[in-house]
Symmetry: C2
Subunit: 541 residues, 2 copies
């Protein structure tokens, strides 16, 4: 027997319909790539998105067709999203930090028909135009006056939509319809596309709106520094209109001074970004002796949060830090570090230690850890295993079947992370499965070592990797990028680890490099590091 | 083209799975009908619910079968819910305040197979046992020691589930499967059953968890005074486990002293009930000179909120009032009175005036107002029309087809309320469609008149109804139930309306009664009143 409730498909166009009707006057404040600030409203966004839909329909773009963007966070980028998704076409965000050839490969694999991009990326697009097999139309986020010279026959975005009808039927397709496409920049093999559905996007939005997740309301002002091309800006491009929160869009400028200016002048209450952004901001605040009086909450994820960033926000600036874990395949929010009730009134060190962990899944996300044979491991806060995840906004596979069948018999997706879970369901990442250091058959957590090492004053970045050892098979080597002007010694570094990790985890050696290589999403490229240190001879070997 | 995301049906068993795994130690604190307080956890609830499932399965209850409860809010009632819903049977909450014969009619119409009830209601059940055609098993919320004598062959709940296996596969059916059944106590015709689905319940839960709706988190302590038999306790039986909030269950005692004791000893942060409950509490607080130091938020709905209750909470006790509107057919939350951003910093009178309105729909609920011909009316804050609603948790019809086709061509449900909408989407109920007073073809809002009249010190309750007038067709008669010991005059009452309503809305007469009749959900029974005053001759007629 079925319930007798309305058939109301979960499609993302309903989010903007809602924002237009309930929060039409709420604003999107964008820093243009030209540097100036422009203010638009959800009502205007709605109009522009409808015009984008009609522009696409006039090009015969419809259900299932891919429209790509190479764009910073901006109100025009938002209009492209909703205009594309509303008619059932698929919005494909490309990460402009990838190698240009990889961008071309991805656009061809996705069979993108249109490429809409920011001026900043014109050199990239010009350089790969010969490689693009399916893109027929280029649109640049610009007006007639700000349009750059180009050899692509590109159309300025504002002119592309100007004067078009704002009448266009949205939705009206099944909620499982494809909605967004985002490729993961795997360190091995070709990138693989995650194909979000309208249903998964709407459910992710609802889940992340709850108090213990993003927790925004209609009176909040949200600054997503995390780019829309990086795992959907953690869903903010959807959850802000759904709640009516103002959005502040940083465009191309994510340095400390620019972010501070927006936080301050727009009285931002909630912001979100990867740790590196916050390092820049905190340095700027310190140098200029500034405060953050309006900011209530900062969501930090994408990689583990360094303790000094956590403590600076919480203790120096009285900003609530929510450490979040997720990945492109999880839409992306998987866990959030809101304090569990029994720790709300704990002493500061206990609270900070809890907040260093990756957090707990909201209702809608199921986690488990398993051993190599797939047996579910205990939630004791100690035992580590492969982290598996299941839920309505978790990938079931990749675009065009890449990577094959990725779910286990119970329908769980293997994240490739290694983690433990405690009795309250708090998850702590101890490693990437492929980065785990296996010493004598036992696992050593590279992340734990790195977190402590980057806490050292003279250390700018740190990476622990496993290198060959005749007796133990692998032993940890700690690679250090010193702070500019500093020359820390091996002894100093190892001393800083003492007492904070198991003795047998202590790295067998420390190597110093000018720069630790980073990947396109700002994470340490361990594959490259392992290559560099492939033949490294440990003093203990 | 479909997205490639996991198939994760939205079934309510997942909510308790989540609570068990993530919030297993969080508590349900219940006042038993015997008066003592018992504490259980979500982990224990999970165990008990699994045992309920096995008890039901042993009786051959399965997918689609109806299990009825006549119960106060309690941890045992919760176990019945989840145990029933988990196996795809339908939990049918019956309102014990209905006339016993109506209860029998409803149980027969629903074809309930099991009836589980609180001791309080034994006299009712005994009185109708001869009328019950389908109920084969009676279970009483009691242990061996607290079981009352009865002629029903009833089983004590604790013994019914004791020692049963806690292994039982939940879910595993389509999310559209029927989940809950609740009859609306229509004032005309037979009651009609709203048949919730798992999907609608889960989506309602997610929608109501957001900051601007119920806004609870894992560290909150929630006291649902609103009964589980009244429109699902406004979803709290689902949203509390979904977030991990503690639940405080008042059982049968909803008087001021009992509610205060729970608010205080359990440090309740969020509570919810109809206005009458708050009147009792506020009187008790005043008489005993008490404060509410822990309470942050009170959700008030079910009928319009009297201004003195609003102001008492907000101004005397510094508790944030969220006025909510909804109905059984809307799961029930339709609108919530969280302040829109432009009024957050307004002066107190402006804020209070806004909070008297019914509020704004969250994402997931669509509202429109239409005239009698079905034309959509403007959102100008003045024009009133029939209030229509659409969404994933809104009824599409009634059980067994009662009432026929209830959706309009656009899929909207007619609420039977008359309301206006302003440009920010704030909805104000001006009347029930059937209670509207039509004077010379124009509508007079009975609710506006009543709201002002109950603000008068000497007035306990007030109802405005239309009575026959030879010239205007109908004119308002204001019926007043004076405060005990008070004898207000017609002139005093009319004076209190002066300047607050349009002159032509002024009632043509005032009638005094000992008691204004109330229906089963505590609302004024206008049908009965109109009968009483059918032949009333107005002085103006
Ligand atoms: N906040 C409110 N203000 C005015 N009327 C309300 C409010 N909440 C509920 N109601 C009335 O109660 C009806 C629903 O009754 P029920 O289904 O018994 O909960 C609605 O259609 C309204 O007429």
């Amino acid at each position: 027997m079925l319930g007798i409730m309305q058939d109301w498909p979960l499609t993302v166009d309903k989010i903007l319909e809602h924002a237009n009707q309930q929060h039409g006057a709420r604003e999107i404040i964008t820093r243009r790539v030209e540097g100036n600030i422009v203010r638009t409203t959800y009502a205007e966004l709605y109009t522009h998105a409808k015009q984008v839909s009609n522009a696409l329909k006039d090009m015969n773009i419809g259900l299932g067709d891919r429209v790509a963007t190479l764009g910073w966070n901006s109100e025009r980028h938002m209009a492209s999203w909703y205009g594309t998704m509303g008619i059932g076409a698929v919005l494909h965000t490309i990460n402009p930090r990838l190698h240009p050839e990889q961008i071309a490969w991805i656009a061809n694999h996705a069979e993108d028909k249109v490429l809409i991009f920011d001026k900043t990326f014109l050199p990239i697009v010009e350089s790969i135009k010969g490689l693009l097999e399916t893109v027929k139309t280029f649109v640049i986020y610009a007006g007639a006056d700000t349009m750059p010279e180009n050899s692509l026959g590109a159309i300025p975005f504002d002119i592309w939509i100007d004067g078009r009808s704002t009448e266009c039927r949205w939705g009206d397709f099944p909620e499982e319809t494809a909605c967004g496409l985002c490729y993961t920049s795997g360190t091995t093999g070709d990138p693989k596309g995650v194909l979000y559905s309208h249903r998964s996007n709407v459910l992710h939005t609802l889940v992340t709106m709850s108090k213990d997740a993003m927790g925004m309301g209609c009176a909040d002002v949200v600054l997503p520094v995390v780019p829309m091309f990086h795992a959907n800006a953690w869903g903010l491009a959807l959850s802000c209109p759904a709640t009516g929160a103002n959005m502040v869009m940083p465009g191309a400028q994510m340095d400390g001074a620019s972010i501070y200016e927006l936080l301050d002048t727009e009285k931002v209450t909630i912001t979100a970004a990867v740790p590196t952004v916050w390092l820049m901001l905190l340095n700027y605040l310190e140098e200029n002796n500034l405060k953050l009086p309006y900011l209530n909450r900062v969501i930090i994820g994408g990689s583990a949060i360094p303790e000094k960033i956590l403590r600076a926000f919480e203790q120096d600036f009285e900003v609530d830090v929510v450490h979040a874990w997720g990945m492109t395949e999880t839409s992306p929010l998987g866990t959030l570090g809101t304090l569990p009730p029994h720790l709300v009134d704990a002493d500061v060190d206990t609270r900070m230690a809890q907040k260093m962990k990756q957090g707990r899944p909201p209702f809608g996300v199921e986690l488990r850890i398993v051993d190599d044979a797939g047996n579910v491991l205990p939630r004791d806060g100690v035992t580590s295993g492969r982290l598996l995840v299941r839920g309505a906004a978790i990938a079931a596979g990749y675009f065009k079947g890449a990577g094959g069948d990725v779910l286990d018999a119970d329908g769980f997706f293997d994240t490739g992370d290694v983690a433990n879970l405690d009795q309250y369901g708090t998850m702590t990442i101890t490693d990437r499965a492929k980065d785990v250091i296996k010493s004598g058959g036992e696992w050593i957590s590279s992340i734990d070592i790195e977190n402590i090492a980057v806490g050292h004053d003279k250390v700018a970045n740190a990476a622990a990797i496993g290198v060959y050892h005749p007796k133990w098979d692998e032993r940890p080597l700690l690679v250090i990028q010193p702070m500019p002007g500093e020359t820390p010694t091996k002894e100093e570094i190892l001393k800083s680890l003492e007492g904070k990790i198991a003795k047998w985890w202590t790295p067998d050696d420390v190597a110093f490099v000018d720069e630790i290589p980073l990947g396109a999403t700002g994470k340490i490229n361990k594959l490259a590091l392992r290559k560099t240190f492939k033949d490294y001879k440990l003093p203990t070997a």
